[in-house]
Symmetry: C2
Subunit: 332 residues, 2 copies
């Protein structure tokens, strides 16, 4: 991955939005604080300093700006979206028992499951307070629905992820829940707060939805072909955690009886030995499922770009177009 | 405990509200369902069938009715409150690693921590959708603030519960968070939805706050003096889980050096042997801390009753008065 090249559109967007993003960061720090429970900023500061690209709050700010909004509520909603995202990460860490996130130990290894669950709840309730402050019932409705879709997707993943009958349609539903729902809510509320006309709000929703799906498919692909130094993840984490994602779903769909027995043993029963990841990778290579998965990601990138044609011309629209390429450029 | 006698006011309130409570139950069942994730109703049906007294949703219905409300939103808010309560129980079960709740195995023993966390999140997001449907920003504000207070109280408990420096003021703050915040929000939103005048809304808040505190103090007392057959809890669960509650806080405050060393070993360090609970109980007996804790509960019952004087006369007001006695009658 050439990160100089790939990051360029995101960096340019961050540049354009830098004043607002600074306000978002300040608001996050302010609302994260707790007079009574110092454990809260301890846990969250860890996550916030881990940083990431702050893609989701930037999407909200970008959508609002693109639709001509210049008021204070976009910053509140951007912080809301980041709080929801961080709460989800904390609860995911409990759930996945994963050893690292963004190349650093997860919060539940540094502290404990208790803190991850309860501080996640705290962040979610803080996000809820922030969105109420906008006074927009439409925004509250969108974010309430997104929250339900996220939670439903996560629960669905619990049962479907270790079930070899899980097909691409179910995978898509999980991905919409765990990732795309927050992307599409992030862009949609940006349009709502700007009082954008309905077709523009729809275009923003469609863009977030397609971008989120492309992003998650790319993430699942990177799990099998990424470089753990640059992604901060270990190759094959999803395999070891018995999490059925698109590259494996495509291999299972074409499996011989013997191969099916292999997937049953390793994914459904969780009986794995040292060589199994290599064998899994060889089966994905046999059916070229990594390539097919990348093709799918590209289809969603194309959908994201098409959605943008429903929006007025604007420098930010051009950047959003380039950002959708970035999602898959990570895979280059 | 003579449950026939003690339950009477709650049963009479349940009678008066039976049509609305049936609507609440139907709404809960309806909104709990998930087309995509059958694990959700599996987990929640377990909790809902466990039942409990549905005290919190009844408080919302009672407050609204007492203030003359006769519309559909009280049922929605009552279901909202029960969803928040159930979500909290699910997350508590993960946190406490407790073996049973209401005399039945907890959800996280029947399923797993993952399901408890994520289904709790789902219920919380469903409650959020329900409250948005009322279209009242005031209600949303109250419930957002209550959610933050609950989460903050739970996090505070994480660090304070095993720290012998925790005093009665901190204990009260935890209790307000983990219990009273939802009681007071439940009664307050009932008044809001009825467009009750400000002093009535304040009286309802004060009643819920005092009732919730009395309820939790009584609960913490029952942990040391209850009958595990009728309470569904084992005597001394809080001691074994190293959870500092009022009866122990009062004993620690008066402890000799030797006694302090005992509390340090058993609560702070968690080094417990078979005889330690008996010794802890003897220290509480020495300082009469169970009696003092019951006195405190009674003070809050009196505050709850006093708050009711700020409300118009109404048969439901009389029942709320009797219900505050019931909270401590459990201790008789």
């Amino acid at each position: 991955m050439n990160s100089d090249l790939a990051n360029r559109p995101l960096d340019r967007l961050a540049d354009i939005l830098s004043a607002d993003m600074a306000a978002v960061d300040a608001l996050i720090r302010d609302r994260m604080a707790s007079q009574h429970a110092p454990r809260i900023p301890e846990v969250t500061a860890h996550l916030v300093s881990a940083g990431g690209k702050r893609l989701r709050p930037m999407l909200t700010l970008a959508a609002a700006r693109l639709c001509g909004y210049d008021g204070p509520d976009a910053v509140k909603l951007a912080a809301t979206v980041e709080f929801i995202h961080t709460a989800t990460l904390l609860h995911d860490d409990v759930v996945d028992e994963s050893g690292q996130r963004r190349g650093r130990p997860t919060a539940n290894l540094l502290w404990d499951n208790k803190s991850s669950v309860l501080v996640g709840d705290y962040l979610f309730s803080r996000s809820f307070q922030l969105m109420v402050e906008t006074g927009s019932l439409r925004v509250l409705d969108i974010l309430a629905n997104a929250s339900a879709t996220i939670a439903e997707g996560e629960v669905l993943q619990l049962t479907a992820a270790q079930d070899l009958r899980t097909d691409e349609a179910t995978y898509l539903q999980i991905v919409r829940g765990k990732t795309a729902a927050l992307f599409s809510a992030a862009t949609e509320v940006g349009g709502i707060i700007a009082s954008a006309p309905k077709p523009h709000v729809q275009a923003l929703f469609d863009y977030g939805d397609a971008l989120g799906i492309a992003f998650q498919i790319a993430d699942d692909l990177l799990d099998y072909q990424g470089d753990s130094n640059s992604t901060g993840k270990n190759i094959g984490d999803d395999f070891r955690e018995r999490k059925l994602t698109l590259p494996v779903i495509k291999a299972v769909a074409q499996a011989t009886d013997e191969e099916h027995a292999f997937w049953q043993r390793t994914i459904e029963k969780g009986e794995q030995s040292a060589d199994d990841l290599d064998h899994a990778l060889s089966l994905m290579a046999k059916y070229k499922t990594l390539e097919a998965t990348r093709d799918d990601a590209n289809i969603w990138v194309t959908k994201a770009k098409l959605s943008l044609t429903g929006l007025p011309e604007h420098p930010i629209r051009t950047l959003l177009h380039e950002i959708s390429d970035f999602v898959v450029a990570r895979l280059a």
